[in-house]
């Protein structure tokens, strides 16, 4: 299957694989401690001992990018996973049951889709990520959970609407009527006939959604309401945003990782969609 991909997609798959490797194995790699201040400050790329240099505070950038991949990717994967599952479920329910369920869910999806992603999650975080003492910001763990929830809510209508559309198309297909005419129950038809056909398009969109989520999470951090200080790519950007003239690498290194990961996710999503289209055209 890997061999059939074009070069760009292959590179994307390798890149995403590498990011997952960093996220999971980051602690075990022979790299400097991300939280340690080094004497060399604002070092450029490929300085001795610091592969991607250091920032103004003397943090090792490579170590921080590896550590940041954990939060960025975990948040993206968990929220997209949850969002796809819930959105997919609602979309199939709307597309298969039609009628009032469909109407209510579609209206709901459209309302959520009409609110810009960033603002939606901003509001959700403002409402949910509160602590008992107004002078102390909410704890990191609580914020991460709230960010995941808010991003999940951003993803649900995107996946929901696409799943609804695909389900609608398959629900009217003749083999579903054929299965009905054999006396199959609705649950069975959804499980055996609708889901296998709808899943590929959910995968394809989910990969695109991972890209969206990484960007939104980065933007939230940049605005200062993301996870902790320098613990994700976005918060690395936030930390370095004032230091552009003194240590440009501190800004560009996390930006590059974020950008490349988003592009790779989009590419894989596109490749999946193309495979899907060609599979349909073969019929």
């Amino acid at each position: 299957m890997f061999k059939k991909l074009n070069l760009f997609s292959k590179i994307s798959v390798i890149w995403i694989g590498l990011m997952f490797f960093f996220a999971i194995m980051g602690d075990l790699l022979p790299i400097p401690d991300p939280a340690e201040f080094f004497d060399v400050q604002s070092a450029g790329l490929f300085s001795p001992g610091h592969l991607l240099g250091t920032d103004l505070n003397g943090y090792d950038l490579f170590a921080n990018v590896v550590a940041g991949s954990r939060y960025s990717i975990a948040i993206a994967v968990i929220s997209v996973g949850l969002g796809s599952a819930i959105g997919g479920f609602l979309g199939i329910a709307a597309g298969y049951m039609r009628g009032k369920t469909d109407y209510a869910l579609s209206v709901l999806f459209n309302i959520f889709l009409s609110i810009p992603n960033l603002i939606l999650s901003l509001v959700l975080i403002a409402v949910l990520a509160t602590s008992s003492d107004p002078n102390v910001p909410a704890s990191d763990n609580r914020r991460i959970i709230v960010i995941i929830i808010s991003l999940t809510i951003v993803i649900i209508p995107i996946l929901g609407r696409i799943t609804r559309g695909t389900t609608l198309q398959w629900t009217n297909s003749e083999f579903v009527i054929a299965a009905k005419s054999m006396g199959m129950k609705d649950f069975m038809i959804i499980r055996k006939h609708i889901i296998p056909n709808v899943l590929p398009s959910i995968y394809a969109v989910a990969f695109l959604a991972i890209g969206i989520v990484i960007v939104v999470e980065g933007s939230l951090s940049l605005l200062g309401i993301g996870v902790g200080n320098g613990t994700s790519w976005g918060s690395m950007l936030a930390r370095a945003q004032g230091d552009l003239e003194y240590s440009p690498t501190a800004l560009f290194v996390p930006l590059t990782f974020l950008g490349l990961t988003v592009i790779a996710c989009n590419q894989i999503g596109d490749a999946l969609r193309q495979r899907l289209d060609s599979r349909e055209s073969k019929l």
């Binding site: 009628g99 297909s173 003749e174 083999f175 009527i177 054929a178 299965a179 009905k180 005419s181 054999m182 006396g183 199959m184 129950k185 069975m188 055996k192 006939h193 296998p196 056909n197 599979r279 349909e280 073969k282 019929l283």
Partner: protein
């Protein structure tokens, strides 16, 4: 013989944006065990709607169905959805027109055939697989074990239609509906599929309702024929009787428009001029009057009733052919 299926005064209307569409008008027929009925008509004459309404699988909410469909002693139109569903597959099953779209593209043939026996007959996985192999043998597919593992797109059109038939007969239905089963196939394959359906019907003692637009298709494979026009049955008779004593001008016109080897070359094939009447408009007079060569003023105003002309020959015409009044 006791009746297996009795359809009486079945009437189907759709509420569409253009107004009420009267698709099936006051249709009655019956079917005995093992008997086969051909429903013939041109596109839009309501034959597919009739067969689906009879089975009860007309899924749209805009359909308004009145009349009665009795399967042995059970009134199907009064059944709840769940009760009706319990009749599908085991009592009545349908073979669709296009085997390309009626098979799920992402599931293996074996799983799709075994699904019916597994779910409806409660067979174990192993038994269902054996049943699937047996069914594939019955529909004359070579190397059934290999075909079980294939996906629909790996099979030819004829093979797929055989698989569709295997799926339909998997739960031993008493009535098999075949909705234009050969329209999407090559001419050479059509004869094979029809022959297969006929032999399976005799072998399993099923009743058959064969819906088609081709009089030639039903000729050799059905005991009786109902000709539909604009939602009505306009002529119904045992097959031999119908072909030897055509009463309805529409049936005659249909027969004349079939090309024959004995036709003189260079002579244009007769066509039926005009179109079906708009089903959203109320019908005045005989539905076929506008296109009929024999129509008189009476035909345009008064609506003919289905009359019994003897020998089980029913027709809906004031001036039946070959009858002197």
């Amino acid at each position: 013989m006791s009746e297996l299926l009795r359809v009486s005064k079945l009437d189907v209307r759709f509420n569409t944006a253009r107004g009420e569409l009267h698709a099936v008008k006051d249709v009655s027929f019956n079917l005995e065990p093992g008997e086969s009925l051909g429903i013939v008509g041109e596109s839009g004459s309501g034959k597919t709607v009739l067969s689906r309404a009879t089975m009860g699988i007309l899924t749209t909410s805009i359909a308004k169905i009145t009349g009665s469909v009795k399967l042995t002693d059970i009134e199907l139109t009064q059944l709840s959805r769940a009760d009706l569903r319990s009749k599908w597959g085991t009592e009545m099953a349908i073979v669709f027109q296009d085997p390309m779209t009626a098979l799920n593209p992402v599931r293996r043939i074996g799983d799709q055939i075994a699904e019916g026996p597994r779910v409806r007959l409660g067979m174990s996985k192993k038994d269902a697989k054996q049943r699937a192999i047996e069914l594939l043998r019955m529909v004359q597919i070579a190397e059934p074990e290999k075909v079980l593992r294939k996906f629909p797109l790996q099979l030819s059109g004829g093979m797929r239609q055989r698989v569709m038939i295997a799926i339909a007969i998997a739960c031993n239905p008493k009535i098999l509906f075949a909705d234009e089963p050969t329209t999407a196939l090559d001419v050479t394959v059509q004869a094979q599929i029809l022959g297969l359906i006929s032999s399976l019907r005799k072998q399993l003692n099923m009743s058959l309702i064969l819906v088609t637009h081709d009089l030639g298709v039903v000729a050799g494979h059905t005991d009786k024929i109902a000709v539909m026009y604009a939602g009505e049955i306009v002529e119904m008779a045992p097959t031999k009787e119908l072909f030897s004593n055509v009463r309805m001008p529409y049936t005659e016109a249909l027969l004349n428009s079939i090309p024959r080897i004995s036709n003189e070359s260079g002579v244009r094939l007769p066509v039926i001029e005009g179109r079906l009447p708009d089903p959203t408009l109320p019908q005045h007079g005989c539905g076929f009057s506008a296109r009929c060569n024999y129509a008189t003023d009476k035909c345009h105003v008064e609506r003919p009733q289905l009359v019994d002309g003897g020998n089980g020959h029913m027709y809906r015409c004031f001036f039946p052919l070959g009858v002197n009044k």
